[in-house]
């Protein structure tokens, strides 16, 4: 499978505070970021749940990442740290599944950091592009011809 022309599908979970504001800032400042990122809002990244992450992969995501407030600056005090711990656990689970934990990442940024948001989207897009499509999607494609 060649990387050329592969547009990864990426799901980004973000809190409605810094995470979503950073996305907003990127938009307002017209900082371009890859369009293949599906944004899903969480009340707080403390709500990050392995169930949601796995569901995204089941529905065909090639990569997933979570955007949270900077550590120490969570609107729910330590929600982002809890989210981080769950992301770490889910990475292990993805390794065990055979999808690879590197398809999942977490980023911390404040609401004003539009550039950081765009960078994260770019970084994940590039990482997943080099990893190739999720084997799940390949299987689904195989099955559906």
């Amino acid at each position: 499978m060649s990387d050329n022309g592969f547009e990864p599908q990426i799901t980004a979970f973000m809190c409605i505070y810094c995470g979503y504001m950073a996305a907003d800032t990127a938009g307002a400042l017209r900082i371009p970021y890859p369009a293949n990122v599906k944004l899903v809002k969480l009340p707080c990244t403390g709500k990050t749940d392995p169930r949601y992450i796995l569901q995204a992969f089941e529905e065909g995501a090639d990569g997933v990442y979570v955007v949270a407030c900077p550590v120490g600056n969570c609107h729910h005090v330590r929600g982002n740290e809890r989210g981080y711990a769950r992301v770490q656990r889910t990475k292990k689970l993805l390794d065990a599944i055979g999808l690879g934990g590197e398809r999942l990442e977490m980023f911390f940024m404040s609401g004003g950091q539009g550039q950081a948001f765009a960078d994260a989207a770019k970084e994940m897009t590039e990482r997943i592009r080099s990893l190739g499509p999720s084997p799940i999607k390949e299987r689904v494609n195989e099955l559906t011809g």
Binding site: P50, R51, A96, I97, L99, R139
Partner: protein
Amino acid sequence: MIIGEQKPLEEIKELIGDARKVLVAGCGTCVAVCSAGGEREAQILASALRLAFQVDGNSREVTEATVQRQCEWEYIDPLAEQVAESDVVVSLACGIGVQTLVERFPEAWIVPGLNTTFLGMPQEQGIWVERCQACGQCILGVTAGICPIARCSKQLLNGPCGGSHDGKCEVNPDIECAWHLIYERLRKLGKLELMLRFQPAKDWSVSRDGGPRRIVREDLRVLPET
């Protein structure tokens, strides 16, 4: 409560073997509270299995269902149909739940998804600790409410061994020396004389060593034993 820990995915896959239709059965009581086998964990495991089988190029049908308690007939009866339709049931209940399913559904192939680990409590969010070994003859009344059977690495009954150091057990600095705790608590409560008492050899016949145990409460029985 009963504390368990999920088996590694690889082991669960091995237990599933070639089965095509997999039912992951969660339990909503102890193992849900310790985040090992409740509804959430059942959903996660089902999802993980579906993904893993797809990655292997060998998709299976993996569904999941959680009941309030897997260790009582009434609660598991509603699973009958789903169990009957499955080639294998991965139970995320403790070993008791697994066996309750086995007894209720003798035709079904049922495997454990958890390692049932101990009887304990959450010490803090994310940390569970052992507190009781169900020894059948509780001695907490003379040990200041701290169990040396479950919490002393050598199950000593007459005070701390020579390895007790700074309140920690010789086995591992993460383990509090149960006898140090007992000593301190008795001292603070002015009851150290309890520790001076010689504790005779324990009657292990009422513990697991006496064979599988059973309690019969005639006052509660509906049908007399035949």
